[in-house]
């Protein structure tokens, strides 16, 4: 593990979680750009991916944490995370190429920074309530998504990826993948339990909520400026 990554990763290198992961190499974004030539067909030249409501969606990669990208690529290779398209492409990458392409996409464009100020969740907005307050009743014990994914779902460190602004169909597919066992690579199954306890309506509504949140926050901000607040 190189120094730069260590400090970027912050504190999450908990031995148990990362045991077994091959030591990461220093990534070179220039080299990574060349590797990305095989990715752009799906993840697009700007790394922004694409929502394909009828077919498989391609997630936005630009601005995801470097260590998160690298780990997902390892997991596609090892089969911890199953997806036909990605297993094929990840398997073509050696350790160095994984490091390079992760550095490239992480630095391509920052994930949008969203407001962090406290905002009381509206009890009549079921999606906002789930995102900011969770669903604890009847022993469901579903914490608020923001308790792990940060205020407005903008991500925390390299273990908790951003959700806000990710494509709706992709978010939905991931929640389903945890439920049907295609994805079981989350640290300590922190996400698996949450996904399993959600119901179908909650999955639909929360995927849409996070996919459209940055736009709505921007609209809210503009509105407040016009109101002179």
């Amino acid at each position: 593990m190189n120094k730069k990554m260590l400090s970027g990763l912050g504190l999450l290198m908990s031995a148990g979680v990362y045991a077994g992961t091959a030591a990461a190499l220093e990534g070179d974004p220039e080299q990574g750009k060349q590797v990305s030539a095989t990715c752009v067909a799906c993840h697009q030249a700007d790394g922004m991916g694409k929502n394909n409501p009828k077919a498989e969606s391609w997630p936005r990669l630009a601005g995801l944490p470097e260590a998160y990208i690298a780990r997902q690529l390892h997991d596609f290779k090892s089969g911890e995370r199953k997806n036909a398209s990605m297993t094929a492409f990840a398997s073509m990458l050696d350790e160095q190429k994984i490091a390079d392409v992760s550095a490239y996409y992480a630095g391509l464009e920052d994930w949008p920074e969203l407001p962090t100020a406290y905002h009381a969740a509206d009890p009549d907005d079921a999606a906002e309530w789930l995102a900011d307050r969770g669903d604890w009743e009847n022993d469901k014990f579903i914490p608020a998504c923001s308790q792990c994914h940060g205020p407005n779902g903008q991500g925390v460190g390299a273990s908790f990826p951003p959700l806000a602004g990710q494509h709706e169909a992709y978010l939905k597919a991931q929640l389903e993948n945890w439920r049907n066992g295609k994805r079981h690579n989350d640290p300590n199954e922190l996400m698996a339990g949450v996904a399993n306890r959600l119901d179908e309506d909650q999955i639909d509504m929360i995927a849409e909520y996070y996919a459209t949140l940055p736009e709505r926050l921007e609209a809210r901000g503009t509105q407040q400026e016009e109101d002179g607040q």
Binding site: G10, L11, L12, M13, S14, A15, G16, V17, T116, Y118, A120, P123, D124, R133, G134, W136, E137, F141, I142, P143, Q147, C148, G150, P151, Q154, G155, V156, G157, S159, P187, N188, E189, L190, G193, V194
Partner: protein, 326 residues
């Protein structure tokens, strides 16, 4: 080193030799001295067994009367207590960090179960203690803060929020779901080193290798468990049994009851053998020895030696400037 649940620090023997009445007397005498903050963080009585049947009302049922607005303000202060940072709060905590789901969750010391059990007589300071006293205690210790005055807006708001949550709850009755569920005595002595392993595997991903928590902007996402941003040496959570109980039923977040009892004991011993802001009561007694003797006759390691250093042997009160220079 290992820690035993019933292991009393050195001073313990001294006290029992002096006799309990002497201790009670000295505390009662101190309680009359306004300068001395009393021990409000004593352990709660064991809650009754049985199924949790009480459900607090939904926030969607709130209207727009002044009462409802006060409930909302209390809710805001409960989940975003950082709004009072620098005035009443001097660490990185929010009330909801230890009272989950905004104080609604059973077995997470829920507020609906607390509302109706105060005022309560407590032998320890030989006084009838009110709900405000108890809330002020969590400000002084858990929030390493300065409690808002009785009758002040923050205190009225939090109490109104609690009053509303307890709508239709029986009065003056300890309800199932109160407090944190008590674990059995540990089979093996709680061990800090085994606890370190549990911590690295199960907790560090959120609370960080060095217990400092994680933040986004100035929002606490994962609260610090030790160091300046954490609860201080007077807080209920610094007792190993209280922390073990809390952890078993509530941590790792989203995976309650996933640790074995032994793991919960061990990791609580590990977390609570780290430095944290000084017990504010030390400001009014002459030495750590004295504070240990008066306030730490319970399952904690304040004043004990860990890795060659005596815990609590310092004058670091975190960010709290103390009573005089505010």
């Amino acid at each position: 080193m290992s820690l035993h649940t019933s292991h009393l620090p050195k001073a313990g023997t001294l006290i029992s030799a002096l006799g309990v009445s002497a201790l009670t007397f000295s505390l009662a005498a101190m309680a009359q001295d306004d300068g001395v903050e009393r021990d409000y963080q004593v352990q709660l009585p064991e809650p009754p067994d049985g199924e949790v049947t009480f459900t607090p009302p939904e926030e969607s049922a709130l209207g727009d009367k002044q009462y409802d607005e006060m409930v909302r303000l209390g809710r805001d202060l409960f989940v975003n207590t950082q709004a009072l940072r620098g005035e009443n709060v001097f660490n990185e905590q929010n009330c909801s960090n230890c009272h989950l789901d905004a104080g609604r969750l059973a077995h997470s010391a829920p507020m609906w179960a607390a509302y109706g059990v105060y005022p309560a007589y407590r032998g320890k300071n030989d006084k009838v203690n009110t709900l405000s006293d108890r809330i002020q205690g969590c400000f002084t210790y858990s929030m390493n803060g300065k409690p808002p005055e009785k009758g002040s807006e923050p205190l009225v708001a939090i109490q109104t929020y609690m009053h509303w949550m307890a709508t239709k709850a029986p009065n003056n009755t300890s309800l199932p779901g109160r407090s944190y569920p008590s674990l059995e005595e540990a089979a093996q002595e709680p061990d800090r080193e085994r606890g370190a392993e549990v911590y690295a595997n199960e907790c560090a991903v959120c609370h960080g290798d060095n217990g400092a928590g994680q933040f986004v902007g100035d929002r606490t996402v994962f609260p610090p468990l030790w160091g300046d941003g954490a609860y201080n040496w007077g807080a209920g959570m610094h007792r190993i049994n209280t922390a073990a109980n809390f952890i078993k039923a509530n941590m790792p977040l989203s995976k309650p009851y996933s640790l074995s009892d032994q793991e919960a004991w061990d990791v609580a011993a590990f977390v609570n053998s780290h430095e944290r802001p000084q017990d504010p009561r030390l400001r009014n007694v002459e030495s750590v020895d004295k504070a240990q003797e008066l306030f730490h006759q319970h399952n904690g390691v304040y004043g004990q030696e860990v890795d060659g250093k005596r815990l609590g042997d310092h004058a670091d009160y975190g960010e709290n400037p103390g009573p005089n220079d505010s």
